[in-house]
């Protein structure tokens, strides 16, 4: 049953460009990027028990590094991508050292403060970042000489990267390190007594999450060909967190569904209103008050109950 659904979904994703129009292909590409980003945040929130409100830092910094290197310094996309991901990962290592001085709400506050500082920096350092105007006129890379300018080509590219990211993160959480991480989330004191180094485990997970956040950031800037300080904002971090929690944190499917939902909502809402932030806030209230465990586990429970009832 599960396999049939997965195969159908895979077939749908692969065949999408053959029947979907440009609008839907572009929307799908954006969803794929949001999915990578939510999955990486979920490594922290769901599997590590570290609720970060600063994950957009990684997306934004990776995007800015790539944008600056390619547009201002004339680098090729290949080296720019490598430096951008490397730089983001190093930044994650540094941020991790600072933020992991605390756990729980302290961790949340520090990640929020750090990301707000970066956001402020992107606004104020207009010599470098072009401030509120953002950096327009960027290009997309041409992997193996294939241009990604058409919606279909970019969709394929994003799909491949997303599939790879999903696979890597799925392997990560089911590995023995993943078990260590979940153990530290549930019983840090016991884990330390058993010989695990909780701090190191959290730190490594933080860096890994930062890495994939950076990958999402690269795709983000390739897609939009533009970058603005807003991508570093709390709202950007919060949207991803909403996706993770709405879908169901600590599951692999949850953030995928949640991120897709938030992006669709944002997209359709923006057709009718500019008040996305009010809607975002209301959805936050609704999700937390009404379905705190998320949609995917909620549906799972419902299915289990229906099956139990039919027997």
């Amino acid at each position: 049953m599960k396999w049939i659904a997965a195969t159908l979904l895979a077939a749908l994703l692969v065949l999408l460009p053959s029947f979907a129009g440009e609008f839907y292909l572009n929307l799908s590409s954006q969803i794929l990027i949001a999915v990578i980003f939510a999955l990486s945040l979920n490594l922290l929130v769901g599997y590590g028990g570290m609720t970060s409100l600063g994950h957009a830092s990684f997306l934004g910094v990776a995007a800015y590094i790539s944008a600056l290197l390619t547009s201002r310094y004339g680098w090729g996309h290949g080296p720019a991508a490598i430096v951008s991901i490397l730089g983001t990962t190093v930044m994650a290592a540094l941020f991790g050292v600072i933020a992991l001085r605390a756990t729980g709400l302290g961790f949340l506050m520090i990640t929020l403060a750090l990301s707000q500082v970066l956001w402020g920096l992107a606004y104020r350092m207009s010599d470098v970042t072009n401030g509120d105007n953002g950096i327009p006129g960027l290009t997309r890379p041409m992997p193996f000489g294939i241009p990604l300018d058409s919606p279909a080509a970019f969709y394929w590219f994003a799909l491949i990267v997303t599939a790879f990211a999903y696979l890597m993160m799925a392997i990560f959480v089911s590995s023995s390190f993943g078990s260590s991480l979940k153990g530290v989330r549930d019983q840090p004191r016991r884990m330390a007594a058993l010989g695990f180094n909780p701090w190191m485990i959290r730190w490594i997970a933080f860096i890994y999450a930062g890495f994939w956040g950076g990958v999402a950031g690269l795709l983000y800037v390739y897609y939009h060909k533009y970058i603005h300080p807003a991508s570093l904002s709390t709202a950007s971090s919060a949207e991803a967190l909403l996706g993770v929690i709405a879908g169901g944190s600590g599951t692999l499917g949850g953030p995928v569904a949640g991120a897709a939902l938030v992006l669709l909502l944002k997209n359709y809402a923006s057709a009718y209103t500019d008040r996305w932030n009010i809607l975002l806030g209301l959805v936050f209230l609704f999700i937390v008050l009404v379905m705190p465990t998320g949609i995917v586990p909620g549906i799972g429970k419902l299915v289990a109950r229906l099956r139990g009832g039919s027997r």
Partner: protein
């Protein structure tokens, strides 16, 4: 593993811990030989669990020294102590409730192995871990529940999982914090024979209020009161000591 360089498995020297003005352990000194069975008794608030927390590294003492087989571990992080052969159980059951019994015990095994850092292979790749975990569960009589989540099993069984996680590590020094707390008579005798069967390579230090059962298991006894060692020595001598009677009977 470092070679034992001391005649003591665990040595505690003048250990002091205070929270603000409240002194919880004061000048505690203990010397426990390899293979010894030591019982630590004392009224509530005598500082027994605080002593354990300092030995295991959950709390830093204000002053004093802790040595494991002669090596100074006073300032080591808890996980490093585990790698030197120290294990503990908790008075308040501290298990991974959503995971199976097998997974719980596997974590105990994983904690001491380099494969805990392995990010590419699933945990199930390590078949030897699972086999060993099942062997330990068998030893505590819980093999039939190996695939059940901890949240499904009875309280007395959880106590045995606590023990199994620690035993799986084959520790040199094992700290048991009230392993009999809240058990029925039947469960008590089950756990008692389990503790009695711990091999002599493991030194056992146990906090327990149930004297009837615990005294049978102990060779030596330390009596704590108000954070100090009152009496310390062979079981029968400590029981016979007047000061023990004073603490327990208040005369």
């Amino acid at each position: 593993m470092i070679a034992p360089t001391s005649e003591y498995a665990l040595e505690v020297v003048n250990l002091k811990k205070a929270f603000g003005g409240l002194v919880v352990t004061q000048d505690i000194s203990l010397a426990i030989r390899p293979g010894e069975r030591r019982l630590i008794i004392g009224p509530n608030g005598a500082g027994k669990t605080t002593l354990f927390n300092q030995i295991s590294g959950d709390m830093r003492p204000n002053s004093g020294q802790i040595k494991l087989s002669g090596a100074d571990i006073t300032r080591l992080a808890p996980y490093r102590r585990a790698h030197l052969g120290l294990s503990r159980t908790y008075q308040i059951i501290t298990l991974f409730t959503g995971d199976t019994l097998e997974h719980n015990v596997t974590l105990g095994l994983l904690g001491l192995r380099p494969s805990r850092w392995q990010m590419w292979r699933p945990l199930s790749f390590y078949g030897d871990l699972a086999n060993e975990a099942r062997r330990v569960l068998d030893a505590v009589g819980l093999l039939h529940l190996a695939a059940h989540p901890v949240s499904d099993i009875a309280y007395g069984e959880k106590r045995r999982v606590e023990l199994a996680m620690a035993l799986a590590q084959k520790p040199r020094v094992l700290l048991l914090d009230e392993p009999l707390a809240g058990l029925s008579n039947t469960e008590r005798s089950q756990v008692k024979s389990l503790i009695a069967s711990i091999p002599r390579q493991t030194t056992v230090i146990m906090i327990e209020h149930d004297m009837d059962t615990a005294l049978d298991l102990a060779e030596t006894v330390t009596l704590l009161n108000y954070g100090r060692v009152i009496v310390d020595g062979d079981r029968d001598a400590v029981i016979a000591d007047e000061r023990t009677r004073e603490v327990y009977l208040g005369v």
